[in-house]
Structure formats: C-alpha cells, structure tokens
C-alpha cells in the first residue's frame, strides 16, 4: 500500500525543491535596496494604523464548523458509494437515514439563520 505513495512522495519533494529554486533565482536577480518606508505593510499608501492582526468575526467560526461536519459526512459517503451496489437495499436505507439526520441539522441551521451573512 505504502509503495503506491512513493511517486507522490517524490513528486512532493520535487515540487517543493522546484518552487524553492525558482524563489531562490528571484533573490539572485532581484535588487536588494532596503528603504524603511518600503517595508511597511501596504495599506494603499497610508501609514499602517494599529497592529497588523485583528480579531475576526465570529461568523467565520460557524462556517468552519459547518464545513467540518459536512466534510466528515462526505468522507463517510465515499466508502459507501463504492460498496453500496453490492450490499443491497439495506445499505441504501442506512445512508438515507444518515443523510436524513444531517438534513435535520441543515434545516435547523437554515431556519435559525445560521446560513445568512447579515
């Protein structure tokens, strides 16, 4: 099993090496002239106001949670989609129940307005 991933590992190392090489080329040919104002974070020409990081909106959290739940659900679908034809009617009903329970949550989220981006 692991041997099938050997080309992937090699491609991964190679892709990173290639990208590093190209970025390195840029550092050879590019000029290096340090000017204080040039290195300021870019805010459309203004002097940056306040720190570069800020607290983000909690709405992003909800999106992330919804994503995780659906992601896990989809990962359960994948092996099911491979085998459900050979397992017969029972597997189909099982999965319909599974989707059904999740759809309850989905409808709840919709009704509560969790899917809105006010």
């Amino acid at each position: 099993m692991a041997i099938e991933f050997l080309p992937i590992a090699i491609l991964f190392v190679l892709a990173i090496a290639l990208a590093v090489f190209i970025v390195f080329l840029g550092s050879i040919f590019g000029p290096k002239r340090y000017i204080n104002t040039k290195m300021m974070p870019y805010e459309s020409g203004m002097t940056p106001i306040g720190p570069g990081t800020r607290r983000m909106n909690v709405r992003f959290y909800l999106i992330a949670v919804l994503f995780i739940l659906f992601d896990i659900e989809v990962i359960f679908f994948l092996p099911w989609a491979v085998v459900f034809r050979s397992l017969g009617l029972f597997a189909l009903i099982e999965m319909l129940v599974f989707i059904g329970i999740l759809l309850v949550g989905y409808v709840y989220a919709w009704k509560k307005g969790a899917l809105e981006w006010e």
């Binding site: 099993m1 692991a2 099938e4 991933f5 990081t53 800020r54 607290r55 983000m56 909106n57 909690v58 709405r59 992003f60 959290y61 909800l62 992330a64 949670v65 919804l66 994503f67 995780i68 739940l69 992601d71 896990i72 659900e73 990962i75 359960f76 994948l78 092996p79 099911w80 491979v82 085998v83 459900f84 397992l87 029972f90 597997a91 099982e94 129940v97 599974f98 329970i101 999740l102 309850v104 949550g105 989905y106 709840y108 989220a109 509560k112 307005g113 969790a114």
Partner: protein, 172 residues
Amino acid sequence: MTTELILFFSLALIAIITGLGLLISKNAIYAALYLVLNFFTIAIFYLLLGGAFIAMAQVSVYAGAIMVLFLFVIMILGAEKLGKSNTVAWQRPVAIILSIILLIEAGYVLFWRTAPVQAAQTLPDGFGGPASIGNVLLNNYLLPFEITSVLLLVAMIGAIVLTHKQKTDKEV
C-alpha cells in the same frame, strides 16, 4: 524491514519534536502549525500500516478542516500571542509527579508486559481500501456509524446556539 524501521523512527522523532513544539511555542499560530505537521506525520504512520483511506481522511479532516477551525478560532479570540499565563502554585510539582508516574507505567508496559512480537502477517488484498472499509462500516459497525450522524447533528446545533446568542440578545 530496515528501511521501514528507519522511516518509522525518523517519523516518530518528527512527531515528538512537533508535539513538543506545539506545547512550548508561545505563538498560538506556530503551535497550530506544529500540530499540522504532527497530524501529517501520523497520517504517514497510517500509510505505513496499510491504511491509505484513513491516512487520507486524517490529512483532509485534521490537517484541513480542524486546522482551519483552530486558526479561525485563534484569530477570532485574538489570542495569537499568549501573554503571561497565571499558573497555580502547586501546578508544577503535581505535573512533574504525574508525568513521572505515567513514564514508569509506560516503561512497565513496554518492557515487562509486552507479548512476544508475532511475525508480521501479509495483509489481505484491498486491506484498508475504501471497499473493505465500506463493507465493515455498513455491516459490523452499523450502530456507531448511525450514531455518528447524531453526534454531528448535536455538534451543528451546539455551534449554532453558541454563535447566535448575541443576535437574539440584540433583537430583544
């Protein structure tokens, strides 16, 4: 066998180092990124054990989804740089004593209580593949599988209730 052993020990070293980095680093974003590396090494462990499906699921759920959630939460709380934490006075000695006990226990299990290592069996064809996982999941572990969906439902409702409390307050 030797290449596998070398691979295992180097990966184990990476896993431990990244785990330590996660604990020690003061910057929460660095800690999260160390955690990604840790998850990734664990995925490679799964691969070496022949579980391609679970390895890919590990990368896509943990290194992808959970990590996005962690980084989002770090930025939502604005907690990327940890301040001086207020420790309880007796926290440190208790931690040291407990970790020594854990180490002794682990050493005892590892050196005195292990069963003799059995010869590695050749894995059946398609072991850990999607088809075999699907068969096992939908036949043997049906109840846990269905309960998972209830768990996901509870998690979804919990997240919605937690994040939408403010809004109802404002409306009232």
